[in-house]
Amino acid sequence: MLSTVVRNLARRSFSTTPQVAAAKNLTVRDALNSAIDEEMERDERVFILGEEVAQYDGAYKVSRGLWKKYGDKRVIDTPITEMGFAGIAVGAAFAGLRPICEFMTFNFSMQAIDQVINSAAKTFYMSAGTVNVPIVFRGPNGAASGVAAQHSQCFGAWYSHCPGLKVISPYDSEDAKGLLKAAIRDPDPVVFLENELLYGVAYPVSDQVLDKDFVLPIGKAKIMRPGKHVTIVAHSKAVETSLEAANELAGKGIEAEVINLRSLRPLDSETIFKSVQKTHHLVTVEQGWPQSGIGSEICARIMEHETFFHLDAPVWRVTGVDAPMPYAKTLEAAALPQGKDIVHAVKQVLGVK
């Protein structure tokens, strides 16, 4: 779906990551794979379970090669019983292991959501700070391509609503590697929302990223591209769309500052506030539905902070259309924000034609 032209544009976008001259290309898939591999090697307690993670090499090949390397004890194929295996994973975390529980897509996590929220997220608090739950729930989230309504929902808003969880939504390979390693090392339950369409995308990464101790902080956003006229905040796939829009806007003399949230919980308000105090205009972008979404939360936070007084115009949210995802290609395309939709929103917010 992503054309080579746009991919090149995305790569050439200025990023605040320290760039090294001899950069290597790393796909998101390989970044996740090496994150899991490195953490399993580093800590005996880490294991991965889920449907098809072992002998199939992963439904999306994220766990490729791991079963061959670590065997049945640590890479475990489960039956199609999400509630059961998520519960088993949480129980294993109660008893001191560090499970990575894969949901083939987060749509299926709804079958197990009680274990994620009531057993994982709340136990540390209910036990008054004794039983912490060092588990990672990971898998693809949100819209893919042509998979229709039951397989396209974004769960960012639902999971980030709950205290006790940490929720990460990475964009590129650097995010994927650094944040998954951070999630696995984290002593609290983490929901790690990947994106199927980004798995195959390669991004240039520095040697630092390839290091086996490369960890990114959870809860800190990244400025992908600095700008001064408008702030665009997005997470996951929408970051790519935002960068495309920023390039188009640059051609019109509008410099957009694109913020990649990286984490939904904690949500990095400080970075957003600082940026908006500079640009005075804000557009949020997400693929999920509008009601009670990530953009809604960001709007609320701006309203409750003195940054509100720095706004020259109301905040606009660019979101998926408030309807279940249709299958037909043109309808599906019309249901998700494209670069042109973000450009349109920015122009409205800036009051330009």
Binding site: G87, A92, F94, G96, L97, S127, V131, G164
Partner: protein, 389 residues
């Protein structure tokens, strides 16, 4: 049935110039035979117990009975709020099982767990104070009746059935760490029909997890009798290919022996499903008088004919394992302990309101916690030390 001592034997020992005499050990036949599912042989129907073990089990059952009575009273006085599910009548299950558990074994159950919490190391005061929501509670009052934890005891879970796969997960960790431990995963007849229970059975069997699934069948899931909730009420057979064992849950010795057998079994072979037939005197919870769906006669009959504590006491007395004086002494000590704990649970104070935002995360990265209004940011603090760091 309680008079079934024809094959009981005891070793008598004269003491104190013949004024007192007691046995140091006795052997009993279990009150009702075990029922087996896919097992060639089952636990022994002959159980030996020493005087010390017997007195200890009696004390423990009596402590649970008294502490539950106190909990019920505290609830009626409105000092305990919300949910309060009493274990009165079911004591033999927890005490018998604990008697066979070793240091490395684990247990998880649902919400009828005040007794288990005490058996797993929390003082009576710690349990009652948790019920009254005070700082002396084992979860500092933050959990309440359904969320009590201690070493190797993973609660205390409020969502019916969720604890079953969690328990299989704890068993998974035992096997992974190769620590020789098992996990007892308890649930009721009401929970037994949950899909996740079967999911847990399935994976435990495939992966040969040292998990003992235990259905405490007290005949009722809230107000719905077993016959009305379950198409198959032979809960020990519900594991299908998993072997199963039916035990008379009112006979503490049968439970003890059955659990010993099960622990031995699962360490070698993988999971087993136990059904412990038991009975609860109270309603489902303190909000339920427990008489709209069953007759008072039924409750009375169990109290008079099958009470786990009375029947065990009689066995001890008959065989000379204990004297009336021994029993009186224990009863009085237990009463004293529970009375003191009750007083403490009433007089203790709650944790300060600042602890509302304590221990949400073991490693907080969120900064301040959003309070009731945007201008009220609360501090996240950490008090206890997380055990899984």
């Amino acid at each position: 049935m309680m008079q079934n001592i024809s094959r009981n034997t005891s070793k008598l020992l004269w003491r104190n110039a013949g004024i007192k005499n007691y046995a140091t050990e006795a052997t009993f036949e279990v009150n009702r035979p075990y029922k087996l599912h896919r097992l060639d042989s089952g636990p022994s129907t002959t159980v030996s117990v020493t005087r010390d073990e017997a007195l200890d089990m009696y004390r423990k059952m009596q402590s649970i009975r008294r502490l539950e009575t106190s909990a019920g009273n505290l609830y009626k006085e409105k000092i305990v709020r919300g949910f309060c599910h009493l274990y009165s009548g079911q004591e033999a299950v927890a005490v018998g099982m604990k008697a066979s558990m070793r240091e490395q074994d684990n247990i998880i159950s649902a919400y009828r767990v005040h007794g288990w919490t005490h058996l797993m190391g929390v003082s009576v005061a710690g349990v009652l104070s948790e019920l009254t929501g005070k700082k002396g509670g084992c979860a500092r009052g933050k959990g309440g009746s359904m969320h009590m934890y201690s070493k190797n005891f993973y609660g205390g879970n409020g969502i019916v059935g969720a604890q079953v796969p969690l328990g299989a997960g704890v068993a998974f960790a035992c096997k992974y760490k190769n620590n020789g431990g098992v996990c007892l995963s308890l649930y009721g007849d009401g929970a037994s029909n949950q899909g996740q229970v079967f999911e847990a059975y399935n994976m435990a069997y495939l992966w040969k997890l040292p998990c003992i699934f235990i259905c405490e069948n007290n005949g009722y899931g809230m107000g719905t009798s077993a016959e009305r909730s379950s198409s198959n009420t032979e809960y020990y057979k519900r594991g299908d290919v998993l072997p199963g064992l039916w035990i008379d849950g009112m006979d503490v010795l049968a439970v003890k022996e059955g659990t010993r057998f099960a622990i031995d079994y699962v360490l070698k072979n993988g999971p087993i499903v136990i059904e412990a037939a038991t009975y609860r005197y109270s309603g489902h919870s303190m909000s339920d008088p427990g008489t709209s769906y069953r007759s008072r006669d039924e409750i009375q009959e169990v109290r008079q004919k099958r009470d786990p504590i009375t029947s065990f006491k009689e066995r001890m007395l008959e065989t000379g394992l204990a004297t009336e004086a021994d029993i009186k002494k224990i009863d009085s000590e237990v009463k004293k302990e529970v009375d003191a704990a009750t007083a403490l649970a009433k007089s203790d104070t709650e944790i300060p309101v600042s602890e509302l935002t304590c221990d949400i995360y073991s490693m907080n990265q969120e900064g301040d916690v959003h309070g009731l209004t945007p201008d009220k940011k609360l501090k996240h603090t950490t008090l206890k030390t997380a055990v899984n760091l």
